[in-house]
């Protein structure tokens, strides 16, 4: 805008260290800086692998193989450090987004670093175990990247400004209303409603949570049962059926929320333990190389 409207604040904020005005995801961080670095590194390795002449053939034990192995091992340790960085709130300047970006792209480059380090000599031994574990860690990480890129918007759409606590609270509110509304019902009908009240909304286990399918949902069963039921106070039944369908909708929202959150988190239960297994196998690999080879 015209100099007349020069924002006084702008001058002051320029001196602040980093001030982003836009949302920029970890994949796009700094104009794909780490994607370029990592891509360049892979290219360099692939080219040099072809150009460098190692006799009798490329393998992990050559000077070239050792170089790649050292780079890879150090990189693995550094990548593991993200878990520490994330939780360690030191007061100096760092951006976890930058760390994540580097973690993702450098982690992917390990496919090239690790595989080219082997000289494509794989077998049934502790060395290949380390490589396989590394590939599994990368694969699970790749899944993480994909869900991080695709699921947040769905999570946001589903919750429609509600918090998880509010979703639970809404279900409890329907339960309380059901409890009083079901008083005039016949014993058979109220048993169905009571089953809905007694059922833990989280019941179903991890598999149900991940799939978001709850075939044994007592609320759905109660609604079906009451819809066809006869006798008793018809008005009361209509009200209860209405409340049951509202509760079902609230449950569906909560279940979808939990499903998406589970999908966003589940891979970490693979990624992190496998990383430790990888570090163990890597140590065995290094020790065995130096002491027994």
């Amino acid at each position: 805008m015209a100099s007349l409207f020069q924002r006084r604040r702008n001058r002051a904020t320029q001196t602040e260290r980093v001030r982003e005005r836009r949302h920029e995801g970890f994949l796009r961080y700094a104009g794909f800086r780490w994607a370029k670095i990592s891509g360049g590194l892979c290219l360099l390795i692939i080219l040099s692998y072809a150009l460098v002449d190692v006799t009798p053939r490329h393998n992990g034990g050559s000077w070239y193989g050792y170089t790649l192995g050292t780079i890879g091992a150090l990189l693995i340790l550094w990548l593991t450090a993200l878990g520490y960085r994330k939780r360690r709130m030191t007061s100096d300047y760092w951006s976890l987004k930058a760390w994540t970006s580097a973690h993702v792209y450098l982690g992917l480059s390990l496919i090239v670093i690790g595989t080219w380090h082997t000289g494509f000599q794989l077998g049934w031994n502790v060395h290949t175990l380390a490589w396989a574990l590394m590939m599994l860690v990368i694969l699970s990480g790749l899944y993480g990247v994909i869900v991080y890129a695709t699921l947040p918007a769905a999570l946001s759409n589903n919750r429609e400004q509600m918090t998880q606590m509010q979703m639970l609270e809404a279900i409890r509110a329907f339960d309380r209303q059901l409890h009083s509304a079901a008083q005039p019902l016949t014993p058979a009908d109220s048993a169905a409603v009571l089953a809905s009240l007694d059922q833990d909304p989280f019941a179903g286990g991890a598999w149900a949570r991940l799939r978001g399918r709850y075939p044994d949902c007592a609320t759905a069963a109660a609604r079906r049962a009451l819809a066809t039921s006869q006798g008793g106070d018809a008005d009361a039944r209509v009200k209860v059926v209405q409340l049951l369908s509202q509760k079902e909708a609230a449950l569906a929202r909560l279940r979808e929320h939990l499903r998406l959150r589970a999908l966003l988190e589940i891979w970490l239960y693979v990624h992190v333990p496998l990383t430790f297994a990888l570090i163990a196998a890597l140590s065995a690999h290094i020790v065995s190389v130096f002491f027994y080879w």
Partner: protein
């Protein structure tokens, strides 16, 4: 302690046995002065007595020395009350309990004080120390005086698994009922209403109550009254006859009689008609009725230490000790200590009142108060007072010398002695607009924002002077360089200040008009109707002007300008503005350049609208959403892109771990539009609502624009209630937890982030630390900047000001 006979006339009768009254009585007893202390209940200091058990009472302000014959230091309620009972006895205070004063007649030397119990006491002087709490109305049924009837709920969490009955259908009753009905507390809550509906309460409270009723959290009983109170039981008078319900606690919220009417019935005048007004007082606390003195909270001093000191002082004054200087004398002396001239404190105060126009109407007692929140400094010629672009909201007054304002490069304008500067920061809450130097060897008074606002509220003359000067300065600053105060005089003369509520249009597109507006406080949005839909064009912060196109072109308004938040605009008539432009061609040029630029931007957006309709609509709708969320008054807000947020809550954890273990933001709560989420987190408003009423005055704006709290919070909760965005928590810091490595490797402690309440409770045992206000300080003093942003793994969280976020670049990028 002895119960005095109500017959003989005493030198002084003290009404109210709180900290102020008790301290006064103790001093009178020490001086051997005949006195009587009248207390309406059967114990001393009812307000503090009614605090919840174990509540920690703070002794602020720390710098003030205690001058009293009674002890007082920070401690638990029980400890303080026990000390005072002991001190009252040791000093030989004559106290009469259950003496509820109903009427005061007579004059100095011969007052007659009648109590509700029918006793009459005679006194030469009266000290009124009744506080501001008033008398809560009591139940009118059998058992009304049982101890399980309470009149306020300090902390709903004090009640767990209890049968609670709330009597009263006003806001206070409903809010208390909702508080204790919180599901986790497992209380059985009943609310009684004498009539059929809740007509006296706010609509929001009524709908919340009805919802709680439907959800079975509160039993709502209308046309029902208490009939008989017994321990553990309550008999109700219902439309269907009597009913006996279990009841462990009764919360009676039947309103109270405010003390003002009682005070006025004695003939005492107040400073004004509004609720914040205080009795008019002399420097010795004497009211407009000779012989009646007013001290303590009623006199406008809510802090215990002030009250106790005043109790001591007022009795000394009554005893004829005119040489007594107040306890704050040494603090004031310290404020004046650095000045080149040697004067006593009262001489300095008179000097300032004589020489500075805005202090002219201030009473000596008020003056002391203002000076305690102010600084006085001597500046050598040429010394910089503040730089352009610095944050700061204090007001400066020129007691001696003059100030030089740098209005353009090399151009300075003097401000003469007696006047003020720095008022733009005070009024608009924005950063300093110009660099100011001392024009000669000078003495400037720096009045803190709070003190200045108090001054403006209490002294109308000061308010007028500040407003006029600020308008003139603001215009000078906008049209910098080319103008002088003389050029502006006719414009300022014709100018009017208008208040605009949020959402109201100041200009409407298509209307004829040539008035020009300057935004004094708040902010505006500019919208244009394109293709039948209002499209957001720009955000105008305080200090901008608009409406100038109409003056220059004579065309109808080409866009609508409406208030983003409650704002104040200054309306300048088109005529006077045109004359000013005619007299100063360079100002005209600058204005025309601005008009051209704005017009270019408008047509840019219009052209984009033609080809990228949906992108422009999204930009416009996002802007409307941001304004609706109150970000128009924000200076720095946390915004989350929910296309990126994976819900890991690392922002909250980082926040807690960067401070004392409490998170100041709630990521999930708050509104969302088109995946843009405004979490519950401080926006550092231009005019922070939280600052409005902070008794110890510990909320300030820091050097980077952050609104933060310094230590000294007394836990009153005013800021939390005043914040419209719900971002302030009342919470006690959890105990320190084991380090990160010992959690990672050994699993010790609760891990990163705010520990669960359960863990905290287990660590603390029976200890109940004082809850104080906790709010975002924008990671003040942390070199890396806001932890929430640094700790976001995906880049979903950023902190921005609204104008940064809504910059045209955003639209440009969206449509490229």
């Amino acid at each position: 302690m002895s119960e005095a006979a109500p017959l003989e006339r005493v030198k002084v009768a003290i009404i109210g046995s709180g900290p102020a009254g008790l301290s006064a009585a103790a001093r009178a007893a020490q001086l051997g002065m005949s006195h009587i202390l009248l207390e309406k209940t059967d114990h001393l200091s009812d307000t503090i007595f009614k605090y919840q058990k174990g509540k920690r009472v703070l002794a602020t302000p720390e710098r003030l020395d205690l001058r009293s014959d009674c002890r007082f230091a920070e401690g638990a309620r029980e400890h303080i009350l026990a000390n005072w009972d002991e001190d009252a006895a040791n000093n030989g205070v004559n106290v009469v309990y259950r003496a509820d004063v109903a009427e005061v007649t007579g004059e100095k030397g011969a007052f007659a004080i009648k109590t509700a119990q029918g006793d009459v006491f005679h006194a030469e002087n009266i000290v009124l120390a009744i506080g501001t709490q008033g008398n809560p109305n009591r139940l009118r049924c059998e058992g009304y005086d049982l101890p399980h009837i309470i009149y306020q709920v300090d902390d709903p969490e004090d009640f767990k698994d209890k049968h609670i009955t709330v009597v009263g259908s006003g806001d206070a009753g409903i809010e208390n009922a909702l508080g204790v009905a919180e599901e986790a507390l497992e209380n059985t809550v009943t609310i009684l209403n004498r009539s059929r509906d809740f007509a006296r309460a706010k609509a929001k409270n009524v709908s919340d109550l009805m919802e709680a009723g439907e959800n079975g959290l509160i039993a709502i009983r209308t046309e029902t009254q208490p009939k008989k109170v017994e321990p553990g039981w309550l008999t109700l008078d219902t439309p269907d006859g009597e009913e006996r319900i279990p009841c462990d606690v009764i919360v009676a919220r039947l309103g109270s009689v405010a003390p003002r009417a009682f005070v006025e019935s004695m003939g005492i005048e107040f400073t004004g008609p509004d609720r914040e007004a205080f009795p008019k007082l002399s420097p010795t606390f004497e009211s407009t009725v000779p012989g009646i003195f007013v001290i303590g909270a009623l006199a406008g001093y809510p802090l215990i230490k002030h009250c106790m000191n005043q109790g001591y002082d007022v009795v000394e004054f009554i005893n004829g000790n005119t040489a007594l200087t107040p306890a704050d004398e040494k603090d004031l002396a310290a404020i004046f200590a650095g000045l080149p001239q040697q004067k006593s404190v009262s001489q300095w105060l008179d000097y300032l009142r004589e020489r500075v126009s805005i202090f002219a109407d201030v009473s000596p007692l008020q003056m002391r108060e203002f000076m305690l929140d102010s600084k006085v400094a001597f500046y050598r010629k040429g010394e910089v007072v503040f730089e352009k672009g610095e944050p700061g909201s204090s007001l400066f007054a020129i007691a001696d010398g003059f100030a030089a304002v740098e209005v353009g490069s090399g151009v300075t304008v003097p401000i003469e002695q007696g006047s003020i500067f720095g008022e733009v920061g005070l009024i608009s809450g924005r950063k300093r607009g110009a660099t100011i130097r001392a024009g000669a060897d000078s003495i400037f008074v720096e009045v803190s924002r709070t003190a200045a606002l108090k001054l403006m509220a209490a002294v109308p003359g000061a308010k007028r002077a500040i407003n006029r000067i600020s308008l003139e300065r603001q215009l000078l600053q906008i049209f910098k360089g080319g103008l002088t105060a003389e050029d502006l005089a006719p414009v300022v003369e014709a100018a009017e200040v208008e208040r605009v509520p949020a959402g109201k249009a100041v200009l409407t597109e298509g209307e004829q008009g040539d008035d020009v507006y300057v935004i004094r406080s708040g902010s505006m949005v500019v919208e244009k109707d394109i293709g039948g839909k209002p499209i957001f064009l720009r955000y105008l912060p305080a200090g901008s002007f608009f409406g100038e196109m109409g003056v220059l072109s004579g065309q109808p308004r080409n866009a609508t300008v409406k208030a983003a938040v409650g704002s104040e605009v200054i309306k300048l008539t088109g005529d006077s503005f045109r004359k000013m432009l005619a007299a100063r061609p360079q100002v005209r040029e600058a204005t025309e350049a601005a008009v051209a630029e704005r017009a270019a931007m408008n047509s840019f957006i219009e052209s984009r609208k033609a080809s990228y309709s949906s992108a422009v609509d999204l930009y416009s709708d996002t802007a409307s959403f941001i304004m609706k969320e109150g970000l128009g008054e924000a200076t720095d807000a946390l915004l989350i892109d929910e296309n990126l947020c994976v819900g890991c809550d690392n922002c909250e954890k980082a926040c807690a771990d960067s401070h004392e273990g409490l998170s100041r933001l709630d990521r999930e709560a708050g509104k969302t539009f088109a995946h843009l989420h405004v979490p519950t987190s401080c926006r550092h408003c231009e005019h922070p609502h939280c600052m409005a009423d902070c008794p110890p005055n510990v909320i300030h704006r820091g050097p980077d624009g952050e609104v933060f709290m310094e230590p000294g919070c007394i836990g009153c909760g005013n800021c939390m209630r005043n914040c419209p965005y719900g971002v302030i928590r009342m919470e006690a810091a959890p105990p320190p937890k084991p380090g990160l490595l010992s959690w990672l490797l050994l699993g010790r402690g609760p891990g990163p982030g705010e520990p669960s309440p359960k863990w905290t409770r287990k660590q603390l045992g029976d200890e109940k630390p004082k809850k104080i206000a906790v709010k975002c300080d924008m990671c003040k003093g942390i070199a890396g900047g806001p932890a929430c942003v640094r700790a976001c793994p995906t880049g979903a969280a950023i902190r921005v000001s609204p104008e940064e976020f809504l910059s045209i670049a955003r639209l440009d990028e969206a449509t490229d």
